[in-house]
């Protein structure tokens, strides 16, 4: 159960940094700061998959980074199973599994060592982590390359290792930042299967994406972030009904460009 309310985060603009014309038109730029996230609120129940949509630069990654405690928001609150991420980040981190498509592995460590390192950082005992890694490697069919160094793996193997690493501590919520961007079809399938299996176990998943078909096949809830504001937050069915014929692309455009404001974007 995750509850996010009125998140805001701005980044200082260094003096002398010139803003481009398009940046000057962006309402989020002020003289001193770039207000990346202005007002984002949503929640996600257990067993639900939440899809985070929005144009590039809308504030999706910043939101997810705040959720994963990598960044500190200026205001707002994030509660994961009642634990406040902002006041108890270390405790909250134990409940979070995080993965993005750009997440790397330590190339000179084997798959097993990569996963075990993070398990140890999460404070797992040696016996517990051995058992858990064995379990995960079986689940993801990874035993064949458990002792291969990450530098020598295919992208599919790497992604599996990254997945195992993200969930080795049995997180209460899994956050994925564009997990399928730039991956080939096989590897994408691995990620999608993984999200599905989390859903079956009742673990809530929050992921950002540009692929509407992924949203259609996986998501229970949809949040659309535009210019740092959560413009839409409701169930998938409500999102779908935003367009007359149930076309998701049209529904998305309707959220981004509500009728009457189209001129701004032309």
């Amino acid at each position: 159960m995750i509850k996010i309310q009125a998140l805001a985060k701005s980044f200082a603009i260094s003096r002398g940094q010139k803003l481009s014309d398009s940046e000057k038109q962006d309402v989020r730029y002020s003289k001193e700061a770039f207000h990346s996230v202005r007002n984002v609120s949503f929640d996600c129940g257990s067993g639900e998959v939440l899809g985070l949509l929005g144009p590039n630069g809308a504030g999706k990654t910043t939101t997810l980074r705040i959720l994963s405690t990598a960044l500190q928001p200026d205001s707002g609150s994030v509660l994961i199973e009642g634990v406040d991420v902002l006041t108890q980040p270390v405790l909250a981190r134990k409940k979070i599994g995080f993965l993005s498509s750009s997440t790397g592995l330590y190339g000179r460590l084997t798959a097993y060592e990569n996963v075990a390192y993070f398990a140890r950082l999460h404070g797992m005992s040696e016996t517990a982590l051995k058992q858990r890694i064995d379990e995960l490697f079986t689940l993801l069919n990874m035993h064949d390359f458990a002792n291969r160094k990450a530098d020598a793996m295919s992208s599919g193997m790497k992604q599996k290792t990254a997945i195992a690493r993200a969930v080795v501590h049995s997180p209460k919520v899994v956050i994925l930042d564009e997990p399928t961007t730039g991956l080939d079809i096989m590897t994408t399938q691995t990620v999608l299967d993984f999200i599905r299996s989390l859903k079956q176990q009742g673990t809530p998943v929050i992921f950002s994406t540009h692929h509407l078909d992924e949203v259609a096949s996986l998501c229970d809830r949809v949040v659309v972030i535009d210019k740092g504001i959560s413009a839409f937050s409701d169930s998938f069915d409500v999102f779908k009904s935003l367009s007359a014929d149930g076309d998701l692309r049209q529904a998305f455009m309707n959220v981004i460009n509500p009728a009457g404001q189209n001129k701004e974007y032309n």
Binding site: L71, L91, R93, T103, G104, Y106, G107, G123, R165
Partner: protein, 400 residues
Amino acid sequence: MWQVYLKELTELLRDKKTMFFVILLPILVFPVLFGIMGLVVANVAKNAEAEEHRYVIINADKAPELAEALFYHKNFKKVESDLTEPEALKQAIREDKFDLAIIIAEDFSAEVTNLTQSQWTVIYNMSSQLDMIDKYFNELLRDYSKKLQLAKLDSLGVSSDKVDALLQPVKLEKVNTAESRENLGEKIGGFVAYILIPLCLIGCSYPAVDIGAGEKERGTLETLLICPISRTAIVLGKFLTVLTTGLASALITVTSFGGWGYVIGSLMGVDIVAKTMSTLGVADLLLILMMLLPLSAIFAALLLSLSIYARSFKEAQNYIGPLSMVVFMPLIVALMPGVELTWAMAMLPIANVALAIKELIKGTMDIGMLLVIFGSTVVIAGAMLAFCVSWFQKEKVLFR
């Protein structure tokens, strides 16, 4: 923290590049380079000694004995020339027709009755660092002058047993109070510091780039940051790793130089190395290590801060270039001839450690000053580490 430390060390040990910088470079490459350098220098000196110099002698008939000695000297070869004027001779030397011109004064006479001083001229290119012409010619001239001196004194009625009293009324015997160790320390002490300190820097810099900027470039930093350990623990783990490799690099170098020195020394029968080793006690070596520890900590903290700020390997390496210049400056100051460890010098970071190492090798270290230098270096290292830790908490550093 120890988890981070262990993992970083494991990863570094598996990296061929680290192995090269930290282990292979000091064990094999440096001694070979220095060996080659020594050989080249020795060869140049040998060649210079064996070189034959073409000379022209004017008015040779005035001093036939000298002319003969020159003629039979193995490093001088007589060349005939019609030139007699100094300007013309100078020009001819510049045009490489010969190397040396000796103009014996026209009014010179080797007769014992002649009691006036005569002025001669030699013309040659004196820009060489190894002025062998000067050496050889002076030897010949000294012998010749001595012969003339004795003959003239004899003609004046000075018997040969009184010659010494007349020419050298006082003879000096010098007694050196400096121990052989002090001499040796003065000669090689600065050099040792000059090798050790940059090695600590090099030993620190590659791992620092790898585990700072490298982590950013590979995209593993974000994952590491959201692990339930504090950022301070992450930084300290990384800092210790860098410090370890820096010190390891210095230690391995010292051991390897000692080992190579021993091998070469025993093969060539040079006992200078054995002497150095025996005069340097274990306590001195430990003190040297103790001085290097906080200095390496400064390097490690600085390099890690730079590296974590950089977005990529390349950017980090660009920052490290100027940093090594900054480190070399005080080192050069410390190595200048005549620079001694004074209280003022003890305040100059890096230079003070270099001078302290020199003093330790000489065995003339003032213990109070040593403690002050150690203390001030520790304080700077602490400040740098504190900066590094707080630097690591900043979002604008981590997510650039």
